[in-house]
Symmetry: C2
Subunit: 364 residues, 2 copies
Amino acid sequence: MHRVTVALPALEYPILIGAGLLPDLGQELRAIGLTGRLAVVQDAAVADRYGSAVLTSLGEAGYRAVSITVPSGEESKSLDQLGRLYDAFAGAGLDRGSAVVSMGGGVVGDLAGFAAATYTRGIPFVQVPTTLLAQVDASVGGKTGIDLPAGKNLVGAFHQPRLVLIDLDTLSTLPERDYRAGLAEVIKYGIIADPELFGFLEQNRDAVLRHDSDVVEHLVVRSCQIKAEVVVEDEREAGRRAILNYGHTIGHAVEATAGYGVYLHGEAVAIGMAAAGRLSSRAGWLSEEDRARIERLIASYGLPVRLREPLEPEALVAAMRLDKKSRGGELRFVLARGIGQVEMTPVDEGLAREALAAGQPELT
Amino acid sequence: MHRVTVALPALEYPILIGAGLLPDLGQELRAIGLTGRLAVVQDAAVADRYGSAVLTSLGEAGYRAVSITVPSGEESKSLDQLGRLYDAFAGAGLDRGSAVVSMGGGVVGDLAGFAAATYTRGIPFVQVPTTLLAQVDASVGGKTGIDLPAGKNLVGAFHQPRLVLIDLDTLSTLPERDYRAGLAEVIKYGIIADPELFGFLEQNRDAVLRHDSDVVEHLVVRSCQIKAEVVVEDEREAGRRAILNYGHTIGHAVEATAGYGVYLHGEAVAIGMAAAGRLSSRAGWLSEEDRARIERLIASYGLPVRLREPLEPEALVAAMRLDKKSRGGELRFVLARGIGQVEMTPVDEGLAREALAAGQPELT
């Protein structure tokens, strides 16, 4: 088992990474000192597979736990589902001494985390991510929230988990498309902070795609280390943390414009990372060689580097203006100066439109 | 104009108190450095009276402001109204550089404050309280939130305002019943922290009740000073801040059990303060003389010290268990040792039931 520590000034918490960790969940909650009642918020598909093992582990550790199931899919990051959780928490008698455990992908983690952040003005919560995307990204760092009809993640709170428990065995039941989408965020860490990780992904493509367990473990551990390091430096995204959004300004706009569910989050981010690479190159920041290397790596993992169907440029630009990084309508992007080095910068709208146009499907 | 400073470690903000301050709102927002778009969230009744003056002041100071009206009454502290605000914020293009101004009583302040705390994970907000209750209590200290069907304030966040602007002239249009309900919280400050204020309220009853402007100003300033001092000592209610809940455990239970709107919040708190006095006396903490003095002062301001209609004791106890101070089902109350000195303590359920029974309407 690997242990990555997120050493924030106000709260230090562990990320535990290994195979077969789920049955230890109860003990690990005792180890961090949780004593009250628990609400276990589970993605519906995950609950079917792992729910009983987890509830058994909690029961053996002496916890009283109520289980709440959330439908799979981005639509669950809604005010409606949030209200359902609040009512279930109150109905189960949760108070300030209680805690929330979320089990599933990024959707359930974000939703349950936001409910935990705001129920009685905040109770502890624990993340048990079961998708690669959630393991390498969503579960670490304390961003929680829901979507609005107007855009993704427009409502939320910073609320750090008290523990992240990553059981790599849960990846064995993850659909291949979701696994590859999760790899998009791993590629992102290479681009924003770690040329070595980028090179590892180039050299070990086959092992990664056949789910070699040592290789996967390395990717998850390294991703969590990078994320933890960036988050500790800038918890509230006043500055450096914004680099984690590489590929996300365009990615979010693609998801919102195409309609949630058309692209997986990681697929939209892959398109966004390729577009941000083109934008970086057009802005004179990134060499043509590195731009091509980024695009090649993304494509080699079966991830899209362009839209599959054309999207209306005006709608994409409007969605980007709603991005939380934008200020007074000005577009802001994280652009690359090289592999492993990125910065946030305002971007001229004309340049952004050109990069988007190049990301439309190729005419055949 | 009086200026009370809330000197929190992370953020210091001013409470401005005086007559005729509303037209200065725009300038004061400039003075604290807000530059982006504004959403002005107003209680419907307040919007009719003061809305245009406020929007004019903001316009003159160069702000682009969108006005959003919320129906008067506790029912507006709901997930539905919260969703309405979120959609309106997104519709008006609010981003992280924007801010929320709330104008009205505690309901709109709590609701708009929570929306500001969570929209794009938090944008600045400014309180312009127009009821006595909001001026002396709700607008200061950063507690924001909404109600659930299961109980009041069960969902929320700590989010400090950047400025509280109190125009005492707005009290001239406040219904007398609301004015007196606001005085309940002023009496509370005397009980929990300031024997001098308590004595002042005993000696100046007539001047207070005829709205003598110097006397009212003194009450508001002193109340804000006490609240600011307590909040600075313990922003997140880890300890001392709980004393502000004197009378509130029972008060909230009365409101929830009778149905919101039957008692004004201040009236329910008045009943709760009298009951907490009886409980303090039964627990051997408070002299009979001081218990009677508390009850006399509350009654002398035309506030209730008992329920008007009987309420089911079981329902009251169940509501008290949902109180955010309760832990693992144990009841906790703030009790008085004397005028100006209170402490939080676990309370035996039998004792609580006796004090509640004595607060039922007297048989005639």
